[in-house]
Structures are given as C-alpha cells and as structure tokens.
C-alpha cells in the first residue's frame, strides 16, 4: 500500500523502538497503540490484517472516524499503521487534536 508521505528514518526508528520496548497506550483484540513522547506521532501494531483494520475505520460513524490524513499504512515489520497526529488517551477514550476518535 502506497502512502503520499514517507517518514524519515529517524522517526521510523523511534517508532520501532516504541513498539519493541514501550508499553501500549491502548490494547485491544485488533491491536496495540504506541505513542511517542517526543513527537505528535504513534504506531499501531495490528493483530488483524491491515485491510480489515482500514475497513473497520471506514465503517465507523463519522464523528468517531479519524481523518484519513491521520492514518498511514506502513510496510514496517514492527507495526502496520503510523498515526500522524497528537493523540491523547483519557478515561479509555482516544482524542486527536481534542476530538474523540476510535483508533482501536
């Protein structure tokens, strides 16, 4: 899957480290979300195929659906999705730029 942006090697390395050694911010049957502290970015390691995950995202009701520009399919082996946004997790809910969304 080709995305319109490519991320720098230094960012990919930090995302890989976050997935390999960090604690997920959210963990569900679909996958785990890891967030960076140094940048407004995150990575999702999926337990389901990426195609099914994107289909799930597309099926979400509009208020909870994240913007397509915030989710980038990745060909990294440690994670499948880069979340290109500042993410907050509060009370079991996920917020991007102050708006509640569903990521997992």
């Amino acid at each position: 899957m080709k995305s319109p942006l490519r991320f720098s090697a230094n960012v990919l390395e930090e995302l890989r480290n976050a997935v390999r050694t960090g604690k997920p911010a959210i963990s569900t049957e679909q996958g785990n979300l890891f967030m960076l502290l140094s940048l407004p970015l995150g990575a999702i390691k999926l337990n389901i195929p990426a195609e099914k995950y994107l289909s799930y995202i597309e099926s979400l009701p509009s208020p909870l659906r994240p913007r397509p520009a915030h989710l980038f399919p990745s060909e990294e082996k440690d994670f499948e999705i880069i979340v290109n946004a500042a993410i907050e997790c509060l009370g079991g809910k996920t917020f991007i730029n102050g708006k509640e969304v569903k990521l997992l």
Partner: protein, 262 residues
C-alpha cells in the same frame, strides 16, 4: 474430498474484493485529505514563518493538544520567487527536495544540530488553472530567531559561544557534508526569550536549510566542493562554510557579531 459449495467460494472472493475496494477508497481519501490540508496551510499567510526563493515554511498547528514538539511544513514553490536562470536557481536549490530531506535525516541521526525531519511527500495542487505538484517536508520547528534577526534586533547571544557554532559545523563536516549557504538567516537560536535591543539571549544553535548542500568525498572539503557547473555550462561559486563562520566570530567582528565576546 468433500465438494466445497460454490456459494462459499464466491462469498470469500466477494469479501476479499470488498476489502480491497475499501482499502483503495481509504487510500484515495487519505491522499486527498493530506493534499487539502497542505493546500490550506499554503494559502494561510498567518501561518507563514519564513520564506526564501525556493520554498516557504509554515507553522503546523495542532489544535487542542499541547504537543511536546512543534512541527513546521516546508513547501517548495513550483517555480522560484523571482525569475532566475538555471544557474541562479542552482545557487538556491542544488539538491532536490527529496535529497535535502534525506541528507537532513542523515545529519540528525548523527546527532548534528539540525531541525529534525519528520516526513516528506509530493502533493497535487491547482494554481492559476495549472495542475502542479508540490514537494513538502514536515520537520520539527526551531522556535526562536535566526542570527540575522538577532543582528537586526541589536541583541546578542550570550550562550552558547561562537565556538559552539564551529563545533556544530565540524560535526557536519565529519559527516562529509558542506552547507554552502551559512548566511546568518540559516542559523537559528532556539530560545524562549523575547528579542529586544540589548537582550542577552540564551539557547541552542541549529543549522537550517540544506538546499544547496552537498555530500563530499573526503573528510576535509576542498575548493572544488564549493564549485558547481550550471546546466548552461557556467560556473557557480559557493562561499566556503569556514568563511561564513569566521565572519560571525566576535573576536574578529567585534560589535558586528551576534555573539557576545567573552
């Protein structure tokens, strides 16, 4: 072997096809969403934080969240700000934007004091009835002032010393890169302080804008590394990095240097 009902096979194929179409729709929407966001940013003069002949830099706002890192977007012009010959253009953008992004990424990974590059892409836009493609780079915003602003603002840099700039460029040189455009506006002081006449500023020095940089073969660049051939055959001479740095030395330049003489 039991016969597999055809309906089941058809169902599986249909589900796969539906998934594939769903992914394609998502990717198409993602591409458009990214392009719209970049186009909106590029049209918003309020977000403009710097511009040159080849590109403009905009603040990237992250509403509703106190991000630990501020991001800016460098958007290359589809053509230079002023009419220029190929030779003149090469003086302001020798590397392709892709190459500039990769070079900056390499330097950052080697702990050189450069703005951290985050992502790079090509986005489609429409300008004056023409379809164009813009190169875009997202990177960490160095919040503060460039050295030209500090000179014009009649402030001084109390910390770090001028020698820190020399150390930064030595480190970059060790990575076999020459900058070739180290004018004061391409050196930033990251600081939270206000810029006012007489202020003694403290912060961190970063080098920005590697558009006319190049990688060199040896660990010590020579004069040939600062000469290029333009497409029309003429010769382009770039000032040597060491000359730029020495021009900022307070021992040599006294009051004209933005650095305090310790």
């Amino acid at each position: 072997m039991p016969e597999i009902p055809k309906i089941q096979i058809a169902g599986s194929v249909e589900r796969s096809e539906e998934l594939r179409r769903g992914v394609e729709r998502f990717l198409e929407r993602m591409k458009r969403d990214v392009e719209e966001e970049i186009i909106q940013i590029s049209r918003n003069e309020r977000l403009l934080i710097g511009e040159g002949m080849a590109a403009r830099v905009f603040k990237f706002e992250l509403p509703g969240h106190p991000s630990p890192c501020r991001i800016c977007i460098k958007i290359w012009r589809d053509k230079p700000k002023r009419e220029s010959t190929p030779a003149e253009y090469r003086k302001i953008q020798f590397l392709s934007p892709d190459e500039e992004f990769d070079l900056q990424d390499d330097l950052f990974k080697k702990n050189c004091k450069v703005a951290r590059p985050v992502a790079f892409g090509h986005v489609e836009d429409r300008l004056n009835g023409r379809d164009i493609v813009r190169d875009v780079m997202a990177m960490e915003e160095i919040s503060g002032y460039n050295l030209q602003e500090i000179i014009d603002g009649e402030a001084k840099i109390a910390e770090p010393k001028w020698s820190e700039l020399l150390s930064i460029m030595t480190r970059i040189k060790k990575q076999r890169v020459v900058h070739r455009d180290l004018k004061p506006s391409n050196i930033m002081l990251k600081t939270d302080q206000e810029l006012e006449a007489g202020a003694e500023l403290r912060g961190e020095i970063f080098v920005i804008d590697f558009g006319v940089s190049r990688r060199v073969a040896g660990s010590s660049p020579d004069d040939d590394d600062f000469i290029e051939k333009a497409p029309n055959g003429s010769t382009i001479h770039f000032p040597r990095d060491v000359d730029y740095i020495n021009a900022l030395d307070p021992k040599q330049r006294g009051k004209q240097s933005p650095f305090l003489f310790h």
